[in-house]
Structure formats: C-alpha cells, structure tokens
Symmetry: C2
Subunit: 363 residues, 2 copies
C-alpha cells in the first residue's frame, strides 16, 4: 500500500494503510519524541490489541502507562476525558509525553482532545481500529467531546503525528461497525467522486464479505479524499471541509435526540445522507433515480434508511445548534449533483420539514 | 497611554492601557466579527461593570448574552467551565460568536479556554479588572483550568483579539488583590529589568496608595515585558517564556496544597519568588543582601513572605507535576543575578529541601 500524506506544512503527517502496521516499531518510534507514552483504548479493543503495542514501546525503553475507557459514544464526555487527565497526572507525565489512541472514533476524538489540552498540548498518534475511524475520524485533526445539547460541541483542531490504519484489525470488527464505516466511505463518492460511487455499487458484496484487497482499496481511496480536503481547508474556514459534513446535520440530530450510543455515528450519517439527497431532489438538483440508487446502496451496505421516532420540533432544534450555522442561520450540505456537494444557507424551513415528513418525522 | 502590540504575525493584537477603555465602542467593536457576544464575568465584577459594557454592545445591534460565575480560584474547574458552554449552546451561539472576559485571571483563563474549545474555537476579548490580570494573565494567550492534582494542567494557547486594561477599575480592587498584582509586577523586574526593580523600590508607597499615574506606568512597563517575551516564545517551546514562571513552581505547590482559592495566586508567587531567590543564593548566584531586599520589597507591597504549613513531601509532590518538568525531571526558574533569570534542571533535591526547610517546610 502507498503511504499517504496529509500536507499541512510543518504539521504534515503520514497515513500508513496496510496489514500489520499497528505495532510496527519502525513506523511508531520515529514519532515519539519524549520518554513517556500513554495508551488510550477501550474495553473492547484493549484485550485484542493493546499488549503487542505496549510490548513494542516497552522494548524501546519507553515509560508506558494506559487508560482503558468504556466502549461507546455515550462515554465521549467530559467525565471520561477526565480519566485520561487523571492517568496522565498520576503518572506525572509532562509536556513531552505522547498519547496513542488505540480504538475507534470515540477513542481517537477523546485522545486527540486530551492531547490538545493536557498541559496546553502534547503529541498524539492515531491507531484507528474501526473502519469508520480509518477512513474518516483519525485523519484531519478534528478532536473533541459531546455536550448533552450537541455532538462534538467542545473540541480542538489537533493533528496527530502519524496515522496507522491496520486493515488486518478489521477482521474482528462487528458487522454493525463495518456498515457504519461504509457510510462514510459512500459519502466521499457522493460529495466528490462519482467514479468511486460506481466502484462501491459494484463491489459492495465483496466489501461486506470483508475482502481484504477491496477493504484496503476503499480505505486508501477514502483517506486520499480526506487528506486532500483537509490540506485545502484544515480549520474549516471555507466551505471545502464543510462538504465532509454531508448527512451530518441530520445525523447529529438523530444522535443527539436518541441519546449518544443508541445509533452508531455511521448509521445516523447514512439516514442523514439519504435525507440530504431527498432535500436535494426537492431543490430540483438530483432526480428520484439518484435518491433511489443511494437508498439501494445504503441497504446493500447494511445501513438504516429510516428515521427513528423523533418529533420534527426536536429534530429541528438539534439541527439549529450545528457548528456550520452562522449567526443562528441554518446551513446544510446538499448535492447539486451526484458527486458534487455544496453548502447552502437554508432560510425557508418548509422543504426541510417536507423531507423530515417524508421520513416519518412530523409534528 | 501608548497602545502596546503583542507581535505574533496574523495573531498580533493590541493592548490598550488607560482610564475608561473597558466599554469604549471604538476599541471594542472592530474586534467583534459576528453578531453574537457572550459576556463572562463573576459575581464581584459584574454588578460594578457589566451593565455599561453590555449597553455599548447592544447599542451596536449585537445579540448579547451573559454568564456570571462565582468569584475565586476554587471555581476555575471543569464544572464551572461547563456553565459557559451551557450558556453558549442554550443561546445557540455559533462559530462566529465572540466571548468577552470581564474579570480577573480566573475569568480570563476560563473564558479563553472556553473560546479555544467551543465548537473547536471562537474569538475572545480580554477585559482584565484586576491588577494581576492586567499585567500578566490577560496577555499572551495562556488559558485553562485547574485539576485537583495540579494548577492550570488543562488548557490551550489561545490569543485574544484585543486586551482592554482599564486602570480606572483598579480603584475598586480589594487591597489583597492589589498586592497580588504587585507580585507579578515585581517579577518582571527580577527576571529581566533591574532598573524597573529600583523604580518599584522607590515608588512602592505610591503604588500602594493607588496613585493613578504610577499604577498606569507599572501596568504599561509590565505589559511591555510580557508582550516582548510572548512574541519571542509564544508556545513556551524555548526557555524564554518559561522565565515568566519565576516563583511559580513553588507558588503552584502552595496553591495546590492549600486548596485553590485560599491563597491568591500572586500571594503564592510572592513566597515562591522569595524561595527561588533563597535557592539562587544557595547556588552562589545572588547574595544575602539581594534576598533581603526582595523580602523588604514584598513586605512593602503587602505580600506574604512565609510559607503555610505544608509537609516537604506534599510540597515536592506538587512541584513534581509542574509543566516545565521534562520526562519527570524537575526544572526551576532561578536568578543567576538580580534582573537575570535562568531555567535550571534540578537533579539534586537537597538544596531545594534546604530552601523549603528555611521557610519552615520540613518533613
């Protein structure tokens, strides 16, 4: 597999995508600058993969400590972030310490935010163990935690030193998590790569069967897109990076209303993308066949296509605190065409309500 | 008064030091980029100064909300930071919102950290109302909160858009707070300006009597030093900015052990600086007369010169989590000469124990 690079000047870093990279000393050690390493993982991943990683670091003479968090989006909060700070301070780790995130998007986001704020900033490394984290959350430096009133509302931009995406670990991934990752992969096709979308239509059965070569190609093509977007708009100051949020405004509203951890992020994004497609059709930008094709693809990926029972008022209230909104005005990512996303200001909520109603979300 | 500038390229910002600047529309409004402003203050300062500030912003047509925190270092924690996030989300403030800190160092540090992390970063403005905040904490972008195991252990570097240091508000400052600010002012003389130290010796009675011209000159000379140091080493990656920590390793140990809010930060720094001077004398760098002169100056400024009842073990344990330490090795700022500070690695704790014992801190 080629090594990808996220090109951000002095903050540039490599993404290694291959089998057996997660505990590879040659890939890890050059990115650890001090003598102290804190491993952050969860109760699901740690029993499977923490020991070999710890062994490589200890063999290099490093001081290694660990903190194991419960597994799930509902634990992506301040209280559990505090466990990381407690462990760092109890171990008396200093500003040259390195944090390593070994887990999915929740572990990556929390570890990155802990690294951004512990003693005003220490280094960190991403070892994503879910498909979703490998193709999306581990790349690009968005870190943070949830607030009861909104997802990812507290956080920082903090780039890792390196990303080690080990495709071998995907073999132990639960089916639901595999599907959730496929949602974000489909997203890249929808917003900027129609050819990739066709490839995904053709190869979805093989991806669902965890064909290693197909999964590796899907991860690499997704990371390539993510790296390009992040290099163009690291801090989401323009609309370039915001396009990665296709389906996320609707999706975050589902996650916030259902309670974090009930729906996987990728599942909520799947329904959210279909809602965005529906709304794009109402704007006359894509046709019914395109929406139907997306629905078929999401179903083939084992993803939900129906909204949960939420009132329209609650749904819209959660959408109103989205980070893309400016001065209280709703902004959504929609599809001008399949493979061509755009950020639009939405002042008239009537078509949004129509889309919600079409998914059974009504007053 | 001249306008000082903190020269940090695109992140440069002005410091206005004068009477009647805190609610001056011409100085404030150019630094507010969105339509939403959150005022953050405390129960002591808000009744005195919040209304005129709010009036100026509302007259400009801005949406203004406020959050009033309890007053004191013991509230500089996650729980109270959360109140700021709650207020921002309840008001549905977005990424173009501006936070304004109206208060002392605690309010400034917490507001800045909230700005650094709300939706991964929004703008903020510092309106410091204590002498200590005007001469030190409001300038330079160090923000954060305390952890029970260490002061300022969680935070971010986040520069404000502007600092409005209104010397008129110092008239309402309690005597203890005035003295606490004088401690940080004395620090600038000790670490880099012997002439300023002489000026302080000469004018301490006038400063204690709150002579407006003398206070304004002390604030301006201090901010000049702070701005120079920050411009040279914004992220404290070299030892330049670390020199501002003279007395702070000892001082933080006092604050952590006594419980936040018992000693004012400046009071702890005063004793800490005298301890650092004592240790510098043990190293043969300064003489007993210099230590005695510092003691006299601190007493003239109404500051403590004796340590509280803490065991040496507890004192050293708190010093061991200082952010300057590297890979577990203690690092202290000491005086090579009066007006010339240096960061030193301290591997032999014996002279540190001797200094602690000289202040009554023993096993």
């Amino acid at each position: 597999m080629p090594v990808l690079t996220v090109a951000l000047g002095q903050r540039s870093y490599p993404i290694h995508i291959d089998e057996q990279v997660f505990a590879n000393a040659d890939l890890l050690l050059p990115h650890i600058h001090g003598r102290q390493v804190m491993l952050v993982s969860n109760t699901t991943v740690a029993p499977l993969y923490l020991a070999p990683l710890r062994g490589v670091l200890e063999a290099a003479g490093l001081t290694v400590a660990e903190v194991i968090l419960p597994d799930g989006e509902q634990f992506k909060d301040w209280q559990h972030l505090q466990h990381i700070f407690d462990a760092l301070l109890q171990a008396r780790f200093g500003r040259k310490a390195t944090l390593i995130a070994l887990g999915g998007g929740v572990i990556g986001d929390m570890t990155g935010f802990a690294a951004a704020t512990y003693q005003r900033g220490v280094h960190f490394i991403q070892i994503p163990t879910t498909l979703l984290a490998q193709v999306d959350s581990s790349v690009g430096g968005k870190t943070g935690i949830n607030h009861t009133l909104g997802k990812n509302m507290i956080g920082a931009f903090m780039q890792p030193q390196v990303v080690l995406a080990d495709t071998a670990v995907l073999r132990t991934l639960p089916d639901r998590e595999l599907s959730a990752g496929l949602a974000e992969i489909i997203k890249y096709g929808l917003i900027r790569d129609p050819g990739f979308l066709h490839w995904l239509h053709d190869h979805m059965p093989g991806l669902m069967a965890r064909d290693p070569a197909l999964l590796a190609e899907a991860v690499a093509r997704s990371c390539h897109h993510k790296a390009e977007v992040v290099a163009a708009d690291e801090l989401e100051q323009h609309d370039v990076r915001a396009l990665l949020n296709l389906g996320h405004t609707f999706g975050h509203a589902i996650e916030t209303n259902m309670g974090y951890g009930q729906w996987l992020h990728g599942e909520a994004v799947a329904v959210g993308m279909l809602m965005a497609a529906d709304l794009s059709q109402r704007f006359g930008w894509i046709d019914a066949a395109a929406v139907a094709a997306l629905r078929t693809l999401l179903l083939a990926a084992g993803l939900p296509v129906d909204a949960p029972a939420i009132s329209a008022a609650d749904f819209l209230a959660a959408m109103a605190v989205d980070k893309k909104n400016v001065d209280g005005r709703l902004r959504l990512v929609l599809l001008r065409a399949v493979g061509d996303a755009v950020v639009v200001n939405v002042d008239d909520l009537a078509p949004v309500r129509d889309t919600l109603a079409a998914f059974g979300v009504s007053a």
